[in-house]
Symmetry: C2
């Protein structure tokens, strides 16, 4: 029945991918330091070296998230695993949640919350815009949700929703404030405690320079209390002293943040087997960020993002969306008239080894998305992308002034 595997089978070759410069909306080229950190051998789940590594990783992510929250840890899955873990742990069936939708990831929060059995209310903005605090407060007054769930940066539109005044609004109306900052963390300011967030989830594969597969989260005391009300311990490891929580059991075992906290906490109750190699990677991502310094990393993203945007504009391309509310780390650019957007991307990838991004939903076929993030928020990466794109666009018949992109970017760099 199954395929047979002889030593000569091509399936048994090692995987040797072509070199790529990943300038899309993520994942991006991983910092080689992260790959080296991930190549370290395992230790056991409860080895003192392992628990120390877990504790250090918690402390490092407190730095990344700008929080004093004790409960700052990893969910073992990609970034949407972190989203689902937060929502399924905080929301009981029937609970009300407000999701301001300004791109694809607002739809994702909506649909995950619906699958949790929550009543989801959405407000929507056209793709390319963000909400004012008043619009969100009005919706909170009207819907009276238990949770406000909003992404900070929506890669589908490149927009960055300002969060700084939403925490106070949530406090005033006794609403739990949750944000997913996967697309933005590292490259844009994010202040968990100052902005009064109750829950935050992120991934590694954007400005944090890592591969996807680990989802750091942080929870306020209020979020933790909400989750712990629903606490249950697995039958196979339960002792007689166990007191089940009062609330409805969380609908997922894997994403039960109460159980995951018992695993990361002093109890060290067995839950999943921690994905050690991803833990090593996540730890290194935080280290890289904190060594360089959070403000410096944001400035670097701002500068290289600006250089890319200015270079693209100089190539007679039009930027997409409200530039005042753009993430630093990704820019949308309209595919010019008469040009086959996918053919351009193919040539960029297959001829030049450079990946730029396509788009979803209402923007499909209309814009490309070009990232300058994490390890690739670098001058050489920006310049290589601009000259390659100039070459490909010129062959495709798009009119532009020769070398305008790189010239403009280099002039901009020269003024910094």
């Amino acid at each position: 029945m199954s395929e047979s595997f002889t030593p000569a089978s091509p399936l048994l070759r090692p995987f040797s991918p072509p070199p790529r410069l990943l300038m899309g909306p993520g994942p991006i080229t991983v910092d080689p330091r992260v790959l080296r950190a991930m190549s370290v051998q395992l230790v056991g789940q409860y080895d003192p070296a392992m628990t120390a590594c877990m504790n250090e990783t918690m402390a490092l992510y407190r730095g990344v998230f700008s929080t004093a929250n004790q409960w700052t840890f990893l969910v073992d899955g990609t970034s949407r695993a972190g989203i689902e873990a937060v929502l399924v742990s905080m929301l009981e069936p029937g609970d009300k949640v407000l999701v301001p939708v300004f791109g694809r990831f607002g739809h994702l929060l909506t649909e995950i919350a619906q699958r949790c059995g929550a009543q989801v209310h959405t407000i929507e903005k056209e793709w390319g815009e963000v909400f004012t605090p008043d619009e969100i407060e009005d919706a909170i007054k009207k819907f009276k949700p238990k949770v406000l769930a909003v992404v900070q940066g929506d890669t589908s539109t490149t927009m960055l929703q300002p969060l700084e005044s939403l925490g106070e609004i949530c406090q005033r109306h006794d609403v739990l404030f949750y944000s997913d900052a996967t697309a933005s963390i590292g490259g844009n300011e994010f202040l968990t405690d100052k902005w009064q967030l109750d829950a935050v989830s992120v991934g590694l594969q954007k400005c944090l320079c890592g591969p996807s597969g680990s989802a750091p989260v942080t929870l306020s005391d209020k979020a933790v209390a909400t989750i712990k009300k629903r606490k249950h311990i697995e039958a196979g490891i339960r002792t007689d002293q166990h007191q089940a929580g009062q609330g409805q059991i969380i609908r997922s075992n894997y994403f039960d943040l109460g159980m995951i906290m018992d695993y990361w906490g002093e109890e060290r109750l067995n839950h999943h087997t921690e994905a050690t190699t991803m833990l090593y990677g996540a730890r290194e991502c935080a280290r890289i960020l904190l060594e360089e310094g959070k403000e410096q990393v944001i400035t670097r993203h701002q500068q290289h993002g600006d250089a890319m945007a200015k270079g693209l504009s100089a190539m007679d391309l039009t930027l997409f969306g409200d530039q005042a509310h753009k993430m630093t780390n990704v820019v949308g650019v309209y595919i010019p008239q008469g040009v086959d957007g996918e053919a351009i991307r193919q040539s960029m990838l297959l001829d030049f080894g450079i990946e730029i991004g396509t788009s979803f939903g209402p923007l499909h076929g209309k814009i490309w998305r070009i990232g300058t993030m994490g390890y690739n928020a670098r001058k050489d990466a920006v310049l290589q992308t601009l000259v390659a794109l100039e070459s490909v666009l010129t062959r495709a018949g798009h009119k532009l002034q020769a070398n305008a992109g790189a010239d403009t970017a280099l002039n901009f760099y020269g003024q910094l």
Copy 2:
């Protein structure tokens, strides 16, 4: 609020774990080939090199699972992510599932299925025993479940549930047959198609020589049809042509195997961002197994497991459980009278750098669990463990004949 990170902060050191020989019930020492495979740079999600790697990984796991199932792919999470994905995708609220429980992981299947809203019926065996096919068929006749969910190997007890005749029973009663084989795959025979399984999930961290964090699964056509009935596509990427499924929407987005199939399939609809580094690792784990040959790998596990068991017995230790139904790759051994089991484990780990396992539930404090699996199903690993354990036990006052463990194992190896 957050801790400040100066260049001298100890948190900013690289993680340098002590060398360990992991001889517990898993995770075990990873084959260095897997770590090297995981250190390769990323390519983009839809790069032809990436989709080729995904397709190759599917083909390789068809080999691992001994199946022709098209739908053989990875869930991005640890092994229990695979379990939850299968159960939440196959079980609608109210569906009946039968779980034969012979250890902790039976309890885990039970509780995950309960959280899916299923009606769960269990039959139980004392830890250390397994079920006869008749016992399972009787329960099927009585409960008439939609799904039979059973682990093949339960590491908590070291037992291996025979599965070969259960598929026919399930066919006869029109029951979907699901097994989690995380603890056993690679080291024990597992024949998905011959045994007529509808769904199988595993992890990498036992006999497959990898780190935890990726959960290979395989689904029969019948399982796929059951899941596809519940198909929905996310709002953010849906087109007008989309037809929602008839069944109740799957309660999880992350674990919606219908959507994950659309991502791994020709549609390549965006779902999560594949955890590329874990994909590389999973691919290499399969390659290592298939290169050596499945039968040879099972034989290797059998031989080193036997050598370990014989060596332990020769040290006046008593093996736990029904030896006729033990997994090849892990053995339970009673902690001898008058010996502090945890102190022995501590000395093994901290003095000798060798990890052996503790136990859960009714076996807590009664047995150790010692693995010989994956990369550590090796003569030197067995012998080092036996002589270290002899030293530690002797200091603790356990009476044994000097060098009996290693002698017995070496004699056994000499006869092979």
